[in-house]
């Protein structure tokens, strides 16, 4: 058997390992080469390979019988002793989101960071990006509790560096604050995992779930639940633990903001779902404890308070950062229903909001790149409403893209955001919580208000003198952004991928959680 035949026969079986190993290898290579261009090429290639791997895994999961799981034993050590990678429908869905976003953002980043990061640091940026991607993919794919913590730290530490690379001097402060808060969150998570290990004597999530079912719920288990909930809530920026997020998103380089907004909080939501449904079990979390009520009210606060705050922001990145906090409220609201449809809504919105916000931040990054002036960094990376006056004439494609993505944030039919809201409403009606239907729809009106502010400034205010001429972003910036904009439209019309996989994942989770 020749080598290629051997490879092609073995490759499909090792996709779970490759999913993490490829981006992981790209990071040290990028550092060793010490060259921005090569680092870019390697990390981008790794991200695309990861995307291809994720597609492969997605197809493999589809070939299993419904509810099937791909279990991969690292180093051939069988679980629960060895580390296990588990890919089910939900995991492969999130892997696709994360690697797909990276595959879009990385090609885009080249033109953007040329304006935002000094050239001698470009290779560091790509190395950190590769690590962050590794961490996020690892969290998603692993079936081992301690492994989750390790990958969480990999992604978090690289994120702090990525944020601090922002040229605005406030980026350092934002990164530092996120460092403190992220560390507290990680500590909580490790304490929670420690409690669970103490009680069950295992770190394998599937094994842990079996053993937890067998024992009475005791105080350490409940404490573990509390620590994990709070720790993960902090990482996913659940109101009122969201305070690290707006500054981090505002002052980080645009490429980082786009990538984080689309993936980081989403992966944290994934971890929360994983622990609730696959480890603790639905009955403990949702039936015996008042946790759904707490989550319901925090979600409502997030939906209204954060969207309300967003309306009054003057900085566009900050506005959409607060909108992210509000949108996360929809995701956790879906969780709190404890039903297949509620969970489906959460999973769909996790994806739909990821691509929508990714598109918006890429387009805003385009505005930064076009108007950035080297030498006056803190001014040039701040996109205020005053600066986008009349932008609809100067950058028509960019502005139109933001409007479409904005419609998706509002939840206009025909956009991806509508599908998520629709399932949320279905879940609310199913639970006979009619007032929540009103709350969901009313909070959408707040989104109308902040998206409207953008429309008003970009289309109805005269441009400042001397800035009337057309100055659209380059194609390198526009094409990746419009890929995501097109995706928000596509997934608003053809829902077979998003709804199909979310529904299947939700059914699988609810079944395993009982």
């Amino acid at each position: 058997m020749s080598l290629t035949q051997h490879l092609s026969a073995q490759l499909p079986a090792h996709l779970p390992a490759l999913q993490v190993v490829l981006p992981l290898l790209s990071a040290p290579l990028a550092v060793l080469l010490r060259h921005g261009g090569f680092a870019f090429a390697i990390v981008t290639a790794a991200a695309w390979a990861a995307f291809a791997t994720a597609i492969g895994l997605w197809l493999q999961v589809g070939q299993l019988e419904p509810g099937g799981v791909i279990s991969y034993h690292i180093g051939s050590w069988a679980p629960p002793w060895g580390i296990e990678y588990r890919v089910d429908r939900l995991a492969s869905f999130v892997l696709l989101l994360v690697s797909g976003t990276a595959a879009v953002v990385l090609p885009w980043s080249r033109a953007s960071i040329a304006r935002e990061i000094p050239p001698e640091r470009h290779y560091l940026f790509y190395a950190m990006f590769g690590l962050c991607l590794t961490g996020l993919l690892g969290i998603t794919i692993t079936g081992d509790a301690f492994n989750i913590f390790v990958f969480l730290e990999i992604s978090s530490l690289s994120t702090y560096v990525l944020i601090a690379l922002g040229q605005d001097r406030r980026a350092l402060a934002a990164a530092y604050r996120y460092l403190i808060m992220g560390s507290i969150g990680a500590t909580f998570i490790v304490i929670g995992i420690g409690f669970l290990y103490l009680m069950t004597g295992t770190l394998n999530l599937a094994d842990m779930a079996v053993r937890l079912r067998a024992m009475e719920s005791s105080r350490p288990v409940l404490a573990a639940l509390a620590f994990l909930t709070v720790g993960i809530s902090l990482k996913l920026a659940l109101f009122p633990l969201h305070q690290w997020l707006p500054n981090a998103y505002t002052y980080a380089p645009s490429a980082v903001t786009a990538f984080l907004a689309a993936t980081a909080t989403k992966v944290s939501v994934y971890v929360l779902i994983r622990f609730y449904f696959s480890v603790f079990g639905e009955s403990l979390v949702f039936h015996e404890l008042p946790l759904p009520q707490i989550m319901l009210w925090l979600s409502l606060f997030a939906m209204f308070a954060a969207s309300f705050i967003a309306i009054f922001q003057d900085n566009l990145k900050r506005l959409f950062a607060y909108s992210s906090v509000g949108q996360i409220g929809y995701i956790t609201l879906g969780l709190s229903f404890d039903s297949v449809h509620g969970l489906t809504a959460s999973i769909i919105h996790l994806f739909n909001h990821g691509i929508t916000k990714g598109a918006i931040f890429l387009l805003i990054g385009g505005i930064v790149a076009v108007s950035a002036v080297r030498g006056a960094p803190s001014m040039s990376t701040t996109v205020t409403f005053a600066r986008i006056a009349g932008l609809g004439k100067r950058m028509p494609l960019t502005c139109f893209g933001i409007v479409i993505a904005g419609l998706s944030l509002i939840g206009v039919p025909g956009t991806a955001g509508f599908i998520s809201k629709w399932y949320l409403i279905v879940a609310a009606l199913e639970a006979e919580q009619y007032w929540l239907v009103g709350a969901i729809l009313l909070s959408s009106l707040l989104a109308v208000a902040y998206v409207w502010r953008f429309v008003e400034a970009a289309y109805f205010r005269p441009p400042p003198a001397g800035h009337e001429s057309r100055n659209e972003a380059s194609l390198a910036l526009l094409i990746p952004a419009w890929v995501l904009v097109a995706a928000t439209l596509w997934f608003g019309l053809d829902t077979s991928f998003t709804v199909g996989s979310a529904l299947e994942a939700a059914q699988q989770l609810v079944r395993s959680g009982q």
Partner: protein, 563 residues
Amino acid sequence: MTDALILHPALILIGGALLLPLLRGAARDAAVLLLPALAMAALWLLPEGRLWQVTWLDYQLAPLAVDKLSRLFATIFALMAFAGGLFALRQPSRLEVPAAYLYAGSAIGVALAGDLITVFLFWEFMAVGSTLVLWSAGTATAWASSRRYVAVHLAGGVILFAGIAGHLLTTGDATFTGMQTDSLAHWLILIGFLINAGAPPFSAWLPDAYPEASWSGTVFLSAFTTKTAVYVLLRGFPGAEILIWIGVIMIFYGIVYALLENDMRRILAYSIVNQVGFMVVGIGIGTEMALNGAAAHAFTHIIYKALLLMSAGAVLAATGRRKCSELGGLFHSMPLTTACGIIGALAISSFPLTSGFVSKSMVTQAAVDGHLFTVWLFLAAASAGVFLHAGIKFPWFVFFQKDSGLRPADPPVSMRLGMILFAFLCIALGVWPEPLYAMLPYAVDYVPYTAGHVITQLQLLLFSGLAFFVMLNYLKRTPTISLDTDWLWRVAGPVFARRFRDVLQATRGSLTGTLSSGLNAISNLITRHRHPSGLLLRSWPTGVMALWVMVMLLAHLLSDFFG
């Protein structure tokens, strides 16, 4: 395969609206006139039935479904777009006609929608298009009222959507058919529809917004929103009894406010509410005759109301004045406008031989046939009232009355042609109603020109005409402002909020150190949030953030242990 070749009339207009801003000069003029004509041709080439079928989220959608009722409304909408486009051909604003075509196309889309989701989509497009029409007037008052307008319509859209969602979930069927007012979801749908129809207590958006549009914008606005609402009510809630009483209230609301009003276009805007009231009553009665009457009345009303607003628009464009008290004697120099205004006024008053007579009398007759004596009495009284406020008051104060000394010329040829077209239709439909009757959803077994009908109507009109001139002194308008329900949110709301805050701030002094800290928080909430250093807007110190983490942990631990 023939399905793929079918063109959706709504998409022709909407697509054309997007292309119009790119065109200039004669090409643009040609496109403005051709687009509605194309839409009309496409509409009449369509066979009946559910022509487009799409599956979306497990629901069967039919974005293009044609029957007699939908064809009737789509026809009048396309006709209206044509005449409006002709009238607005010399409108300097480059935004208005494309916006109006988006608006008209969406209205056609609603009329041709076979399912509720498509209805909702075009419904929202209509809100966007009409808001843009309003804006293109470019004045500060238009800007302000467009914001109130869009707020009302978005809120209405939210209510409608909540209802549609509930309907879909309970029935699992998206088809747009008749519904009963038997569940919360259906009530929400009905309320959503009624908000657009201008039913009280949400009617104030209409007279607030429509008179602020440009001289041609109001013509478009008058036609589509309320009449699509009539269409969806006809299809969705025929025979819902509550509609009779809502309609009666609308009729009298419109008359009273129109009599009090001084702004000529606001008079006509109130009379839209009044006329839609007649249609809503017809829908509420729900017999075949009544539904035919409501549909026919919507058809004729679009024509004569547009004609009235065209003549008012011509006056506004020529003089720049809107108030009855500042106008008068214009018949000297604007004979054509005067003639067209009078024809419109006669039609709205249902004078025999005009279009209003052949349609409104069907609703009245249906009330008689249904032995609804009270309703008939109201309708008869209202007919007199319509003659008072729209039939005589508008032409009298604008074109005759005292001589204001103004001598503006008749408008340019495109505007004149638009008016002549609709004036012709007003008379033609009154003299020869058979084509209209043939388009109605049910077979028509009704002869308008019987001696009884004609004599009753003439008596009614003569006596109210007499009343007008006897009471002329009381009806002379001074420049006043009439309070409507929108006063509640325009004035009383902010005043109340300010009072509330003042009171709260006053208590701070007297109750310092006790309960006042909590009250302070509320009283300053809004101001604080609007400030960059407001509580939630500023960046919290790390310690405070960490504190929140502890609070959350404690809350979770306590609730987990003791909950």
